[in-house]
């Protein structure tokens, strides 16, 4: 009970901290923010899709770099000037190129990027399917080990007869036969080895 309480306390602490930190730490400084909450909200949304050009893979909304701040200010400047969201994005692209977009646009030079992975998935799936088909066909109706040839059977019979001929082991013959006919079937008792010991 005490352990349960301890675990419960820890979990509760985690849950609380998760709730408190639900809004991530902001890179955007209070002095950058716009007075108009609607415009500020749009600026925040735009900042999330614009790359901080010196941070490789961080949005300007996340980055504390100087240049990210400059870019955030430019975004706000455009919005205040009355630009639409797409005009603001275009304004940034005109200065920094497509690189500034965290989500690359779908165009000729990004074709391999967008089409490549799905294409590969289709190719791999097709190959896997074909391979499976061929494999299945080669397997044919075979479901288990190959059946015994008459020669195998004769040899085994002879072996069984020989074992059965040994004195004091009357049950041996039948269990051996059963094993030959049903190699993977249910075994009698604990199996062959213990059979040896009990008789």
């Amino acid at each position: 009970m005490r352990r349960f309480l301890a675990v419960f306390t820890i979990l509760a602490a985690f849950a609380t901290s998760a709730l408190v930190s639900g809004t991530p730490a902001l890179a955007v400084e209070p002095d950058e923010m716009l007075d108009d909450p609607a415009l500020e909200a749009r600026a925040r949304e735009l900042s999330k899709v614009l790359r901080c050009v010196v941070c490789q893979n961080q949005s300007i909304d996340d980055s504390a770099a100087d240049i990210a701040r400059d870019m955030r200010l430019l975004v706000r400047e455009r919005l205040v000037a009355g630009d639409t969201d797409s005009q603001t994005i275009d304004h940034m692209v005109a200065r920094y190129g497509d690189y500034v977009l965290l989500r690359p646009p779908f165009q000729t030079n990004t074709l391999a990027l967008w089409v490549g992975p799905p294409l590969m998935a289709v190719v791999v799936a097709t190959l896997a399917l074909l391979f499976f088909r061929v494999y299945q066909r080669e397997q044919g109706a075979r479901t288990g080990p190959e059946p015994l040839t008459p020669t195998d059977r004769a040899q085994l019979d002879a072996f069984v007869e020989k074992l059965a001929a040994e004195p004091g082991r009357p049950r041996r013959k039948n269990s051996l036969r059963a094993e030959i006919n049903h190699p993977f079937g249910a075994q009698e008792g604990d199996g062959g080895e213990s059979d040896n010991r009990t008789t």
Binding site: D66, D70, V93, A94, Y96, D98, Y99, L127, F131, E138
Partner: protein, 181 residues
């Protein structure tokens, strides 16, 4: 059939590795994938206007000043060490008669005045950009950065990082010559 099925993935893998190998080896000839190609290439220089740093430093320039002849725009700062490294090359270019305009990026007037006094001021004009606002217009991602502008005011070349004698000889001088023709 089974053999073909085995060969196809191997071939695809080999082609993929081959393409990636070629792309990787290309970086040796100066194709650096970490460099961002400037969006300004082939476009008119952005609209801007910069004040002078101080009265005794020639400066303050705007978009209109970059028309009529081939010019260079050099983004630098007094706190930037690579800028100091390329400064002798800039000075030599200026001495050879190329008008070079400087954007002083995120700097203080005191620091840059001291820096120019110490290292020499080869610039036709120095524009003061303490908050980096104009640098954003130029798509600057770091200092130093160097642009070549043709007589029509169109950006024809951008070099990121410090100029080296090799870059100057192989890239920048040919571009300037080409633009002057």
């Amino acid at each position: 059939m089974r053999r073909i099925l085995f060969i196809i993935p191997v071939v695809i893998f080999a082609v993929l590795i081959g393409v990636l190998a070629v792309l990787t080896l290309q970086t040796k000839d100066g194709r650096d994938p970490s460099l961002i190609p400037s969006a300004l290439l082939g476009k008119p220089a952005p609209e801007f206007s910069l004040p002078a740093v101080a009265e005794d430093i020639p400066g303050g320039f705007a978009t209109a000043d970059l028309r009529g002849q081939v010019t260079m725009v050099n983004v630098f700062a007094s706190w930037c060490v690579p800028c100091l490294a390329e400064h002798p090359l800039i000075s030599r270019l200026a001495a050879d008669g190329l008008p070079i305009y400087a954007i002083d990026h995120r700097d203080t007037a005191v620091d840059v005045a001291k820096w120019l006094k110490k290292n020499g001021n080869p610039y036709t004009a120095v524009g003061f950009d303490p908050n980096g606002r104009v640098s954003v217009e130029w798509g600057v991602t770091g200092v130093p950065e160097t642009f070549i502008i043709n007589a029509d005011g169109v950006v024809i070349y951008k070099h990121s990082g410090p100029m080296t004698p090799k870059v100057l000889k192989d890239k920048i001088l040919p571009k300037i010559r080409e633009a002057r023709e």
